[in-house]
Symmetry: C2
Amino acid sequence: MLYFLSMEPALAANRIAERKLRDRQARRAQIIGAARRIAELEGWSNVTVRRLSAEISYSQPVLYGHFGSREGILAAVAVEGFHELGLALEKAQKRDKRGNTVGSVAAAYLEFAASSPALYEVMFSLSLNVPFDDVATPPELRFAFSQLLELFQGQSPKSEVISELFWASLHGIAELTRAKRFPRGRQKERVKTLVELFTFHDKTPPIVKAR
Amino acid sequence: MLYFLSMEPALAANRIAERKLRDRQARRAQIIGAARRIAELEGWSNVTVRRLSAEISYSQPVLYGHFGSREGILAAVAVEGFHELGLALEKAQKRDKRGNTVGSVAAAYLEFAASSPALYEVMFSLSLNVPFDDVATPPELRFAFSQLLELFQGQSPKSEVISELFWASLHGIAELTRAKRFPRGRQKERVKTLVELFTFHDKTPPIVKAR
DNA sequence: TAGGAAACCTAGCAACGCTATATATGATGC
DNA sequence: GCATCATATATAGCGTTGCTAGGTTTCCTA
């Protein structure tokens, strides 16, 4: 039972360092979680550093030790959002059984944006972000977009442009819906028409790239 | 030369009231103009009430007398933006000589968004806005969207949905371009492909209803 | 020309993001 | 076990923000 006491000092130091790292990451997750919760319930303007510090029962400088600024916190939330969006799209693509991959991915995208409006908002409102094809771009962003890229892969020489347009359409629908710029209750029809636009029945083999 | 002095009192009061109204509107325009200029040059975070009051050489409460809050100022700028966007789209539609109305309107839309990024940003970032089909919706918003509606009028029973999707696509492209989420230098190809998607030829409609 | 309304400014509040500095906590060497 | 030192955390404050109560000036009217 005195095992740990007799342990090699270097190993003990390792365990301690690991524990500290875990604590740190746990607190980081706590901060991000609190930010998301408050944003979703009360809007991003209520996500203040003071409020967050009260929420996790630490002083403000602790938050600045984790993320360098308030924007850093929002950026971390945004990255988490892209990760989850990527997972949701991947899941939708894999689970599709009706041969309508484009449709189910589109539905999943809009469902994500609608069910977490504040999260979706912050994913695109941060203006000081790195370009998407930059080396510094977080892999979470690439991952999310790659799910859309795969949808049209090899369909045409312009498959990349098609993917970009598809993404833009989804993003536009999500944003205009969130901002209440669209008449209500036609969302299903909108998605259906969108899918038709992006589904190409040519002589040459079209859309479905099962994989 | 003593004409005005002997003028009917009621008329004199009228002239004075009119002049005051003119002054008021001129100052209102000054504020909006200053806000736009600063936003475009230094970003919206630098558009503070203090800064604006210094810019027009009036104290802060004067600004609050015109617009009730900082957000009120941004909203006024946004409305002005929608007005100008509507005009730009109308012009593009009327000037089109190549029979490619959809294309020239799309180009005009993206040109507008690209040349005034801060203006375009504020037009869609105000979350607390009235729904688009509400009675309280400023006519400028309706006007802008009506330009897009006309584009597809009568082309299909779903012309309204098509218009909404077209708008969403344009908005998505504008936003993703502004946020640098798109690879550079393919904008022309993007627009061309978009126009193809939204152009329905009488003989062979590219959209075949999928089941 | 007196009086009153309208226009305008001064000064200040509470809350914000952020940080220099002080204090407590906990691991390490003797 | 104790002293030491680094690391972790808190206190307190700076400058700036949006916004407003209250006093002052300006200008129209009678």
